[in-house]
Symmetry: C2
Subunit: 206 residues, 2 copies
């Protein structure tokens, strides 16, 4: 009966579970963006998310478990690719999305935090690899279509081209204090497209 | 008198200071490679380096101070660039050096650890940026010479080309579980060279 009453807090279990997860992952992301993995405490996350501690400990267990689920959620939330009709247009759309994400005051530190967390935790590393696998796979068809249109040589490794767009932006974020501006995004797209056209990503015959 | 006696432990102070620093930084690097920043404890480093605790605390103060000095030392120890006479040859030499370093069982985790440590510590980040500034500056003349030889268009941003060689290797290390093999190094060099030849790194007129 209570499930049908329409009162607040009486939504179906799936809905409540999903809302609890969303609140906990939002809080976990906030903490990671503010202070990195070292600051991630399950009791603090429960308090911020206004969720019972027991629920958080039972469901996520450890900070590493929470980071792994956050990465799974980020992969689910990942924006679909843009289709512009040209290789350069598609790669620019991708580069600008990565650039805006990494330059964002919450998202940039959050990505730094999960990359750092993955450095010495195999479970987090596996979740991180899975996140990038999904993201790269989402954008690979842009490159495959460019091969079909004759813009790129046959045998071009689509996933490597997509990685080549993101790589300079991550490298800039992690190893320099230089701004992650639109110009750096456009240069990343332009150089990946030029290298792909020149056949630099053609897989050698095996 | 003791300073001239030639007995072990009686070397000039400069020599002793340098040996102490070398031993401490070696131990700090070992600890970072094994367990990351979270594992870096000054007392443990002193024990491993067989150096007095007080010396380590007085000279380095904190784990962040130790990481900053380790990065300064890595910049000093950085190998000089190779000159092969062609752009592709030089970039390949650079890419293979980066690949061997990141694939090394001690150096790879050490680089992951310092990148992770820099994510939430401004002092470590500054030392890390300085390390990459020096390293990129060391290899930039390869690109400048290629411009002078007419291999690359005038106005090519030499430092961006050098960064483009390293970027895919770091991205591969951090975001995938794929092997950092010779093929990935050669692809990184080949694609940076192709993009540079196509003018992707020419700085727009300002």
């Amino acid at each position: 009966m209570a499930a049908d009453s329409g009162e607040p807090g009486t939504l179906r279990p799936g809905g409540r579970t999903a809302r609890v997860r969303a609140a906990v992952l939002q809080a976990a992301g906030d903490v990671l963006a503010e202070g990195g993995l070292a600051a991630l405490d399950l009791a603090d996350v429960a308090r911020r998310a206004e969720v019972g501690r027991t629920t958080v400990y039972r469901r996520w267990g450890t900070p590493a478990g929470l980071v792994a689920d956050l990465l799974a959620d980020m992969a689910e939330q990942s924006l679909p690719r843009t289709e512009t009709g040209t290789l350069l247009g598609d790669l620019e759309a991708n580069a600008r999305l990565v650039q805006r994400t990494l330059a964002d005051p919450r998202q940039g530190p959050l990505f730094k935090a999960v990359l750092a967390a993955a450095a010495f935790d195999p479970r987090t590393a596996a979740a991180l690899h899975r996140f990038y696998e999904i993201r790269v796979g989402e954008w690979a068809p842009c490159v495959e279509q460019a091969v079909e249109r004759g813009e790129l040589p046959p045998g071009t490794d689509a996933r490597e081209v997509v990685r080549a767009v993101s790589a300079p932006l991550y490298y800039r974020l992690l190893t320099t204090g230089l701004p992650l501006d639109r110009a750096s995004a456009d240069r990343a797209a332009r150089s990946a497209a030029a290298a792909a056209r020149a056949g630099a990503f053609v897989t050698p015959e095996s």
